[in-house]
Symmetry: C2
Subunit: 394 residues, 2 copies
Amino acid sequence: MDYASGLKANPSSIHAEGVKTKIKLQSARKKISGILKARPVEIIFTSGGTESNNLAIQGVVWAWREKIPARNAYSIAIAGGSEKKLPHIITTNIEHPSVLETCRMLKKRKLAEISIVPVEKNGIVDPKKIKKEIKENTALVSVMYANNEIGTIQPIREIAGEIRHYNKNNRQDLFFNRSCLFHTDAVQAANYLDLNVGKLGVDLLSLSGSKIEGAGRVGVLYKKKSAPITAIFGGGDQESGLRPGTENFPEILKFSEALESAQRIKEKETKRLVRLRNHFFNKMRHSHILKNVGMLFNGDLENRLPNNINITFPKIPSDLLVIELSSKGVMASSKSACESSRREGSYVIEAIRPESDPEIGGVRFSLGRETSKADIDYTIGVLSKILLRLKKWK
Amino acid sequence: MDYASGLKANPSSIHAEGVKTKIKLQSARKKISGILKARPVEIIFTSGGTESNNLAIQGVVWAWREKIPARNAYSIAIAGGSEKKLPHIITTNIEHPSVLETCRMLKKRKLAEISIVPVEKNGIVDPKKIKKEIKENTALVSVMYANNEIGTIQPIREIAGEIRHYNKNNRQDLFFNRSCLFHTDAVQAANYLDLNVGKLGVDLLSLSGSKIEGAGRVGVLYKKKSAPITAIFGGGDQESGLRPGTENFPEILKFSEALESAQRIKEKETKRLVRLRNHFFNKMRHSHILKNVGMLFNGDLENRLPNNINITFPKIPSDLLVIELSSKGVMASSKSACESSRREGSYVIEAIRPESDPEIGGVRFSLGRETSKADIDYTIGVLSKILLRLKKWK
């Protein structure tokens, strides 16, 4: 008679309906762990990419602080206040806000020390520069797999190699005998790139249903079994105690099926989108109108997501272009939706074009499963007309 | 052309589709704020009840710590380590794990000091006992509106009165000039009780879609505009910066409609369920078989949710009864689903029956919109047979 207030069974209930739901939940977990070549117990369901990134970063910081008593804030303050003993995080200057702002928040709250490594002009970070920042109290390196604005793919395997090398030489038989962990935000990568966590060499990897067609609004955090993290939320013991709260069962099921289907068509879809993207690039490059206005492609042209195009049009504010394009039915973006209501321009474009006016920014076109060659041609036609008009008006 | 990877528009995007979604999101927010007699800006969407409770409690603690520099961990340690200067939280011993465990986590992490007030034998807390615990550094009182296991309704208005009285007399023109805030976890109350936040006198109130028929898997935190809290997650600036992450738009829409519909039928449904519940009670009381086995109703019989029945059968373990009932198609629970995989018994039953063996616990029957008189009669029939058999077997 317990309808759990008339809803579907709670997978953590011990009655028959609860058990049935739990079995389906476990099979979704198994499906996802199979794709990542991980173990089911290493898959933690969250509410989305933002929470996955927060759980990874804050979780490592709290585990680091709690496990080693000498490292809690009190002892440090009494011992002379050396901030060097706080857990240290290394990240880059083009991470998603859910990574970058989380690191800044932890610094502001005096819970961690952070180093932000700038990417190169092509939007790719140099693994050697990451390596240079690793020190005794580095608890975590967090570098995104692929960027959400300029689509650049980071050298995850190489960075993992540097960290492994450091751990091997510096974290053996020491008093602070804990490895430096490696987290990657793979939210943008899930549709197109290899998600084999062993090959990538990561300890933590974030995924989000928002970026996978047909997936539910849930997130996943892969956490290597040996990697110590603690929960952000206090509450029940769902997800091995690492993520309390009733499991979002129907959405989790959708997520596992959508990820599986995205993996199945990955190679074919990547080829198709690369062709479309190159068609876009080439047509733009040879367009006389655009040559008059001028344009700069953002992000490395080789190591980038197949579905991402990001262009700076010097002297034309990207927000204006996005609104003009929208009026013609073309949905583009000038920066991450997670920072749209902020006044400043895109910090990602600023990172690779520090000389440029922040208002100019870059216009991002994302290609999806429904994007056809006709869409590309239509977009370029519309874009050409708008640019010509705006140029005259200026 | 930006299909946001083929998905529906992101409400934080500035293109036309994004704006349309944002308008619908705002209208859902307005609908919910109308029911709570609050302002739309006071409604924060989260992933569920657990997150709402965490955001309320952790959010108050961090706002308290960050706003007053003299109260951060470093200064305290240097100043002599007086833990008294940490923000202090008062709660009860029968709160949901997402409140109780969050408080314990904050204590363990040396971020807050906590006082846990025990409820009376009838499962209701004495407002005077709450008042007695309030002191100079009390940042928050968190008392649930109605209990998830034994259904007791707490005297929220009276507790609010005590806090208001304390604030008026003690938090004026002091160096620590911040009010003691009041949070209530109203997750179980949403279907049946008055949600007018002004009348209740609360600063923070949590709701969860999981407990409202037809609502999506999202949560809501009402936060009085003047109440200072900070985010748990680092990330984008969604939900006034208090809850970063892409808004779970379709589920939010479902939530607002389901809450509205639950409010519409509230009075009629309450009357119907009270009748059914009393029928259950009376039939049980007059059953000879049950008189032989013995039974104790848990929680105050007057101040309780209309849909909740919780009974202790002395000498018969509640987990065993739940499994036996389940085999006959009756879904009951022995404790909160959020603590089902823990070995211990229900801490809520333990709080009101400290003399009882934890294994015995209590069996909870929840009535819902689909529950009929025939269901009640069937349940009592099944229960009687099971109890008789188990009694013989013992």
